[in-house]
């Protein structure tokens, strides 16, 4: 970040610092840090993906792509809905592993018989 020190009035006052950055919730601080880093990578990936979608939009229209056009692009209401759906799908397929059930494996060979898989359901 840029150095924001300035002699200009900012009207900011002294405050009481929170201690939230010190908390550890998992089995080790490294696990906590890796989760945070993983989340940050997800955010960076989504920013790149969104930029690619804008580029693809202009490419499909055979436009000469000016970086300023990319920067200023405002999705249509339909694109907005579609992009948010894609974002939600990206988050779900990336992070849903965290919701898996973790019962201990109880038998030497799997025993649970389930219905045949349907086409189109991954």
């Amino acid at each position: 970040m840029a150095d924001a020190k300035t002699d200009r009035p900012t009207y900011a006052a002294d405050y009481i610092k929170g201690d939230f950055e010190k908390a550890v919730y998992l089995d080790s601080v490294h696990s906590d840090n890796l989760m945070t880093a993983f989340l940050g990578l997800g955010a960076e990936h989504w920013a790149l993906r969104r930029r690619v979608m804008v580029l693809e939009k202009f490419m499909a229209e055979n436009k000469v792509i000016d970086p300023a056009m990319v920067e200023a692009y405002d999705p249509t209401p339909e694109e907005k809905v579609a992009w948010e759906a894609e974002r939600d799908d990206f988050i779900d397929r990336t992070f849903s592993v965290l919701t898996r059930e973790t019962d201990a494996i109880a038998s030497a060979v799997p025993q649970e018989k389930v219905p045949a898989r349907e086409a189109g359901k991954s």
Binding site: T10, L26, A47, E84
Partner: protein, 400 residues
């Protein structure tokens, strides 16, 4: 279409949403609208957008992740996992005598709950950090923007940099770096992070804040010429009241100087004639009986129980007989809309918010019987109202 370069919406749209200014307020004009069914012009007027595509995309991720965390990891799957864990430990899924902190510590032994909590906190930090970087990374620009509007109208701005700030007001509430008072861009950051990502897409066009104003009942005589929005933060509900009552003199006050400074900047850019002042809600400086409506939105749970009593008394003083106190906040003792935490999971979540999201007075507030506090102060209380999205206001009416 909205230009990303023009980060606060064009003023030309103001006329389309009924914010024409009335210089001499003589009669009540009530512009009713549906915050959840806005025209494209209204959406353009209310929308706020980051200055760059990447800033917008990073916040979009934070918004999406918070939604997924709430609905999946902490929601459906989280409840199932927590229930299985509690059963395995022989602990009740229903009401429990365990305390708040103890409940939280017990559930942290459930790997799913621990992961959920870690990601919740990390997502909150990511939301704040990326927003902070957006504004501090271009600090000169944003300081200049505020300097250009500090003394500009419409409306006015009163900053009190020498004001003594009570300790309870200077915490890093919501884990926002610097809190409400300590960062030069607190108002920008609060608006662009919290009121966008926190609401998980439901407040992109100020729908929540507009619904607070639209759902507020008028005094019985219908007269609404002066309105105060206490704890106004970035001023979204303040301008929402002006949109509904364009003839009224509308004030927003907040303890955070950087908050009201941004709120004023935003209002000037939108050509909305409202007044902002850095003042305490327990010491508003307004004359007795000055306001027809005093409103607060999610302010009281960030103040101590002692301050809450003082603020309710101050509200009573500055309302005129028949005036309306429109209070919208989390559920407390005495609420008609639900109960305070009873189960281990509810208590753990409550502790998580209180201690780990830095909301130091959360429990003091939830265990205050707020409707009763209003009654003992002299208000008649109405608990029957619901606004469009079911946020339950507590309405206090100062007897005539």
């Amino acid at each position: 279409m909205l230009s990303r370069r023009n980060i606060l919406a064009a003023t030309s749209a103001a006329a389309t949403v009924g914010t024409q200014q009335a210089k001499a307020a003589k009669s009540t004009v009530d512009v009713k609208s549906d915050p959840f069914d806005q025209t494209e012009a209204q959406k353009e007027f209310h929308a706020a957008r980051f200055a760059t595509l990447d800033q917008e995309s990073l916040m979009s991720f934070a918004e999406g992740f918070k939604k997924w965390n709430a609905t999946d990891l902490a929601g459906r799957d989280g409840r199932r996992s927590t229930n299985n864990f509690l059963r395995s430990r022989g602990l009740p899924i229903g009401e429990s005598d365990l305390g708040y902190e103890e409940s939280f510590n017990v559930l942290l032994e459930d790997p799913s709950y621990a992961a959920k909590t870690r990601l919740e906190r990390s997502a909150q930090a990511l939301m704040w950090d990326r927003s902070m970087r957006a504004f501090h990374g271009d600090a000169d620009k944003y300081l200049t923007l505020m300097e250009e509007t500090d003394n500009a109208g419409p409306g006015s701005l009163e900053l009190n940099p020498d004001m003594e700030l009570p300790d309870y007001t200077i915490h890093e509430i919501h884990a926002q770096p610097g809190g409400y008072v300590g960062d030069p861009f607190a108002g920008w950051v609060y608006h662009w992070a919290l009121t966008q990502a926190f609401y998980q897409g439901r407040n992109e066009y100020d729908q929540v804040h507009l619904s607070i104003a639209q759902g507020c009942p008028k005094p019985a005589d219908g007269k609404v010429l002066r309105i105060l929005d206490m704890g106004c933060a970035s001023g979204l509900s303040t301008t929402a009241f002006k949109e509904r009552f364009p003839n009224a003199e509308v004030w927003g006050i907040d303890v955070g100087g950087p908050l009201v400074r941004y709120a004023h900047h935003r209002a000037v850019k939108k050509d909305i004639d409202v007044h902002f002042a850095q003042r305490l809600a327990e010491d508003t400086k307004f004359p007795d009986g000055y306001f027809d409506i005093v409103s607060d939105y999610i302010m009281f749970h960030e103040v101590t129980a002692e301050a809450a009593k003082e603020i309710v008394s101050e509200t009573y003083r500055i309302l005129r007989p028949g005036g309306v106190f429109n209070h919208v906040d989390i559920i407390t003792e005495g609420s008609s809309a639900g109960s305070v935490p009873r189960t281990i999971r509810e208590k753990a979540e409550s502790w998580n918010i209180h201690r780990h999201n830095i909301e130091p007075w959360w429990h003091e507030f939830t265990h205050t019987n707020f409707p009763e506090l209003l009654r003992t102060t002299g208000f008649d209380v109405d608990l029957t109202l619901r606004n469009a999205k079911g946020i339950p206001p507590v309405i206090g009416i100062k007897p005539v």
